[in-house]
Amino acid sequence: MATLEIRDLHVTVEADNATKEILKGVDLTVKQGETHAIMGPNGSGKSTLAYSLAGHPKYTITSGTVLLDGEDVLEMSVDERARAGLFLAMQYPVEVPGVSVSNFLRTSATAIRGEAPKLRTWVKEVKETMERLHMDPSFAERNVNEGFSGGEKKRHEILQLELLKPKIAILDETDSGLDVDALRIVSEGVNRVRETGQVGTLLITHYTRILRYIKPDHVHVFAGGRIVESGGPELADKLENEGYEAYTKGGASE
């Protein structure tokens, strides 16, 4: 069973000619089949955690370990991490001019699966997955994220999640900027992947709203660059009622 183990992770970023520590010792274990919600106020370092795990060059790991099934993730390049089974659904997916969605998906699936998917079954697979996400077939011929609305970008991220079937999926504020309909469609996509029992999900969010659609097994409060409290779904209810105030005032956050 796939397991992602994050131990004492410290991460810095260069900003304004200064080095700033964003993550200050993150400990977390996510197992296949589990869903963990990471909730926290703005600036707490949630997205830094997501991008550090995916290997974004902007972030420097100063100490700690990240293991996926015992393999050292931090030693891997960005593409190796993806091929090892890590997936990051991005908060702000970037436009890639000149590359169509269909070409991108096929190239990606080929890289992740280690061989080109058989054309006939692949076309069907993409078509059906897009239908379930209420995406128009013309979508496939558009350039990646170019001119996509906020909702289209997020659906495109979840489309990739469904097609690439990672071991560990990190969803970075996938709910932000979505209206209720889009949120429901996107959540259903995530739930389809979760229901296979093959994916460990790390759901990073600012709001409790998405947790009405995607039920977490564990909820962690993230503040000041580390997890400050962990619990079950009831912790989300507490946050819903009380907000993050209790965690930001006590000096846990800066």
Binding site: A54, G55, H56, P57, S77, V78, D79, R81, A82, R83, F87, L88, M90, P93, V94, E95, V96, P97, G98, V99, S100, N103, F104, T107, S108, A111, I112, N143, V144, Q160, L164
Partner: protein, 393 residues
Amino acid sequence: MAEAQNIPVGSTTAGQIAVAAESTVATRMSAPPSFDVADFPVPHGREEEWRFTPLERLRGLHDGTATATGEGVKVDVQAPEGVTVETVGRDDARLGRAGAPVDRIAAQAYSAFEKASVVTVPKETVLAEPVRIAVHGQGGTAYGHQVIELGAFAEAVVVIDHTGDAVLAANVDYLLGDGAKLTVVSVQDWDDKSVHVAQHNARIGRDASFKSVVVTFGGDLVRLHPRVTYAGPGGEAELIGLYFTDSGQHQEHRLFVDHNTPHCKSNVVYKGALQGEDAHAVWIGDVLIEAKAEGTDTYEMNRNLVLTDGARVDSVPNLEIETGEIVGAGHASATGRFDDEQLFYLMARGIPEQDARRLVVRGFFAELVQQIGVADIEARLIEKIEAELEATV
């Protein structure tokens, strides 16, 4: 109608649509068109038509110091049956009918060439195979002149392939009879040191259609100036260009479409990718719709993809309209960059770095490559793009 987006550092995109009584496209040149080099002052670099060109790298083509050497450039023409291929002297009456030189180097070439090649496709002759003109540099300096003439309703594909090491200034005339169809593919696949400056003059007959495909990869400095005029109504011009500008290369494409006749069409699409320190691409797209050219339909577009830091693009579309009685007129220019965030996004989906770059550049050029219509050139082009990407990043 102008659009400009994602402009990276080191690029300019400027565009204008002017409504003018008198053409500034013509008046902002240093001198009126002429076949005599003496009519053009030696450029100093600040003139509108020279301001992007590094004069010091022209190897003397612009100031009269470049002297032709005996076997500078070898020209070999292979033509299918039915085509007449001739080598003629300076006094042949068929030379220079498609347009006069508009700058110093084109006039220098016209004043200095010794032999011209004339390729004639008789009227109503439809060629099944392309005419292939190999222009191969042998390390020397040369001035050239070529004429491709199609009689009425003739149809031909001509591939002009530039390779080797040369300093070459030339004029190429394309004369299309009424209803003729000509596709010309000019490939600049020069060695690294070459300098190539040429003016292409197309004169499009009534209801004739002209397709120019310019593919520029090689050379130290390449500056091409495709120009189009119409000899009768109903003419169509499609000007397609692809360039891949590497570290240190200067590749300049200046286009001019003169809508001097009613009911003609033009469509210009140039796309370039750049990589490496001091890669410099220049695109100037001038379209003039003269007062008498009612019913004109024109569009021009330039797209650039900057793959690395250190490259520079200057893109200047310019549309001048002297009549409002037209079908359509527009232009667009955009320079985007393949940046670290795009690379991260693709790699985060398992795609290795080199493949990611290839994916983006292939996608960028794909629609144009498919429009070339000459299979071996398309294949070679894709091969070249791959090789360029492998080389240095």
